[in-house]
Symmetry: D2
Subunit: 349 residues, 4 copies
């Protein structure tokens, strides 16, 4: 922590030094040309208390030196985390594609959709049974019935499935069915939910909040991990800005940033990232090349009749075409769309 | 809902008209100079399904005409909602001040704080027993012990108290103690929590999410209200922008906007809004004049030793000075700091 | 400047220390528990070159200690700058109101408007002769003809006037007529224009860019001042965020922030800040109380027929009512709406 | 233009209809279930005047149907614009790479740099002679001396060059030397400068403003084009958001959006887009795949000694490696890094 003093009087400085030492840090003085700076040396885990020193009258600013995440960071774990899901492994050489509708709407719809995405080469089925909707009057999902349909489709087409869990109460039920637990963007800082996910043994798919910095997002992964579950994957899905041509601003640079700061896998979701089906394919391909470990894509047999997110859903034939287009890019970046032995290896650990 | 066509071909238009009618709306065509527009006439509650029409190839854009909130809006309820809390009434002639520390840290701290804010003229005690923290390693609050201390302080100093509830599971316990339930900014779209609050009979204090539009914020109030609890008050506490001189950008214009769109009371929180104690007093005073129904202010006996949010906490003597400064402003705007008979009246309904 | 090292190897650190010293700074090492930090001691004026050290492989981050403005800051000039304009003085005890239409549209319109705002008690007339418009097909202003009409109105109603200058070429002509030069939000970082304004002897009214931090805005004032013109006043007019209920997000906290960091006067423009006439009055009153030195308000005799910005313009009668409402607030904050002797004094310096 | 009424009274509606007709539009009424909507039919070029109707008391909202750009849009020009620059052609099958230092710092530096980027396969040399800097105390560029050095390097290495022009006054001089005129992000709405560029016959490279919507950016292209110069290319270089891990948020989705809305070429600048050299290569590659027509990359022989933007500059060897990496991606997307006959063709028109 670095404390910039507004005053250069000895008594003001001594007073801050004393406070720093009382909080268990060593104080180190640097006399600059125009400012005196106090470096507080020690583990900054307790730094939020140091931050309170900003309220002292002669302190101009207090800023931290260290990133605040530990388990999620490269410093404690150099090697990339690889997460096995069925015969697949996320975070390694296999490039993993998750696809399916925004919401499960009926048995026919999810079966048709699962069939189509499987045929096209997707690895994991996605579909929402519990839907966080801005309006209480919108379709809220089929709940357990949706989970059962997802399970049925998953078994029939031999694809693990991912679905969103919205409350700690839903956790046990969703865990009974799902292969991957999705934490939605609006719940990225729902700490009770994060901790509940951290107490399960299911892989967690953590969407970035639309209002969240990459640092805060990794801190939310830290919440899950600090409860004992290290199988967290990150998902960039766009942030909120002033631009309105796209539904969100897809922050694709987050892919290389997360890969630098963290060992966790990072998946790109250009469906939410752009919000319009016409932009999904170019941004999906860009995501492969930028270094993402996988994609999440919304696919619906009849987008114009979707209960939710129709505007950003691909039709099955467009999705199949996208799969064809990403294959050479995946290979060019030294990866593969086929399951590798990494899943078995990762499971063996 | 207004649908802007990209094509002017009869068959493309007929196709969209058919879809609109299938969803239960009446379609109305407008031939402009360069565009054909289709107005879908009907209650837009189901509008999220209409939005999916954007995925049709010849549709350029779909946009809604109506605000999506109902219960929270002025259209269903013209008259301002007044919420009784103890001998006070929020939303009417009384200007209500809520003050106290960010977190309850110890018996001494909360007692000293309650004493000080009561002396200065505050009406409601605030204090966090459950703390949503960005880091799992930061102080997470004193939990039930904190609730007991708040209750004790509340009774000793005859002030109702407000405290944050973070999960549906905490709801029954918090309801046993607290007079007002606070939903924090990070949980503004935690729909499970909103619905749980909607099933209690306690007043709900709904903080605006830091990346939430005013429309989404009112939709979150709608979630609470649609479960049966109409006693919701809104709290502007700053939004996230690119500016870094302040912790958040305090969107004070939200006060007149909410007053125009909604009948719910609106409280201003300049402590979180600015994040620095030096800016709290001017912005608190500005809030009174802009039309807020009350203030929430963080006060701590020793800000530099606070477990959280020290930098934005006022010392008791500064808070007392602020109360002196707002009194004439409250009066000038036709209101009062004293309890009025409105509380009794409101309770009587 | 503080340099956070990613490496703790002696040779990596020595390498950075050498670079720091080559740039003319003294290097000071701090060994933390997890990081080594190098403080570069010296005047940071050349800091943009130090920032390039971030490209060295073992450097994690470089951050500045000092604010980058000098002339605009409190450190070189403690005392508030007071700027005389006609019989008025901006930045001192007099609270100054500037009002008028967005654009000069005709002789009748500007005369009617000037008469109305003078009657209501405004001090300075505003009106655009050169209009920066998003579209090349929108009304671009009456140019010199507009300046002449402003001058005529200004003389008839004995009010100095302010108008926008958009290019260095317009500067001499605008200086012939205008009492205050307005630099618009879109030109806040048009450095050629800032320097041209800095070479005149007219007061400069510097609007905040919609994309600009307070720090960058003060750096733009620094551009004007570094050319010799110290008579700069700042104008907060809203920044761009994701919120769409208001045209911009009026960052009223910028008022106390600028007053803390700088000695320059700060004016609030709630017309652009909110973009809707209904919100102008409450936010104008809030601005007085937050500590602004004055207001800029758009007034138009027939807002619905305005060539530009009609939606945010007050009718003359509403403006008169606003003047009545701010008077007690001005007085309560120890100021006055009448010209004081400060103008004479300021001119005497 | 669509006008949503707040009132359903006949006289209020008649009044608005009358205003709409006075402005030269045909009014068309739509009676919805809860709202009356008035469609104003006619060319919306004058729409900024219609927008003023929002100030009428019974009008809730006014919103436009049409995009406001014409010359820059796909509707007037379906076919992609191809801009010849020397033996190269931007906007067609050739993928064009522009590279060089942020600023020209010395003869040696620009020569070394030009040599290196030419060797690696870049097509156009970039370098700043006039630098828009946040601080008046930072290095402001070598001015005409810099232009001469760029010309010399350009001739020696047979590469056209691009450089920024900051004021209308500099235009004639810069036009004497440069092959492409760059308008910087801070000047994107400096309309005097845009119009001056529109009166030249040089290709214009228009950077997106950091807080500008895609619509406003295309409107700025419209300013240049409406003066007669149709050779405009767009450059996405990141927008300002709350995220701080990157210098800007690189809005790569703007590439497919601009390609959909406009026929103008779109270039990606991942150096400014990310602000850190480590992220430049992945985002450059992603840009190729997302559909950009070219890249602008900052390259400096010694980034840690750069006068500006060192942190985001690639070393020559890294740039050469990037060129090797993008070649297969360019080919995979059906394009080429070699000059094609399109340049000759385009010139022939």
């Amino acid at each position: 922590m670095v404390i910039v003093m507004a005053s250069r009087k000895k008594e003001d400085i001594d007073n801050v030094v004393k406070k720093v030492e009382e909080l268990g840090y060593k104080a180190h003085l640097i006399e600059g040309v125009e400012r005196t700076v106090i470096a507080a040396i020690g583990d900054e885990r307790g730094k939020h208390r140091l931050q309170s020193l900003e309220s002292l009258p002669h302190v101009e600013r207090v800023f931290p030196i260290l990133k605040s995440f530990k388990l999620a960071g490269r410093e404690t774990t150099m090697e990339d985390t690889i997460i096995p899901v069925g015969q697949h492994a996320i975070g390694g050489k296999q490039f993993v594609v998750m696809a399916g509708p925004c919401s499960v709407e009926s048995r026919d719809q999810i079966m048709e959709c699962a069939h189509a995405v499987k045929e096209a080469g997707a690895h994991v089925l996605r579909g929402g049974a519990y839907k966080p909707r801005t309006s209480p009057y919108s379709f809220q999902g089929m709940a357990e019935e949706g989970l059962k349909l997802l399970k049925e489709a998953s078994e029939k087409y031999d694809m693990p499935f991912i679905t969103e869990v919205m409350t700690p109460e839903q956790m046990p039920l969703v865990c009974e069915y799902a292969d991957i637990l999705q934490i939605g963007a609006r719940n990225m800082q729902n700490y009770g939910l994060l901790m509940a996910a951290g107490r399960t043994r299911k892989p967690v798919f953590l969407k970035r909040g639309m209002m969240s910095t990459i640092n805060e997002w990794l801190m939310s992964a830290e919440y899950v991990m600090s409860e004992g579950n290290r199988q967290v994957m990150m998902c960039e899905r766009g942030i909120r800005t002033f631009e309105t041509e796209t539904r969100n601003t897809f922050d694709l640079s987050a892919v290389p940033v997360v890969r630098k700061l963290s060992h966790l896998p990072i998946i790109a979701d250009p469906s939410h990232g752009t919000g319009l089906w016409e932009y999904v394919s170019p941004m999906a391909k860009a995501s492969v090349v930028a270094g993402a470990h996988g994609l999440m894509i919304e696919v619906h047999p009849k987008p114009s009749e979707a209960f939710s997110d129709g505007a950003q859903s691909l039709k099955p034939e467009r999705f199949a075409q996208l799969m064809d287009e990403i294959r050479p890019l995946v290979e060019l970046t030294g990866r593969t769309l086929e399951p590798t032995s990494a899943a078995a290896t990762a499971r063996g650990r």
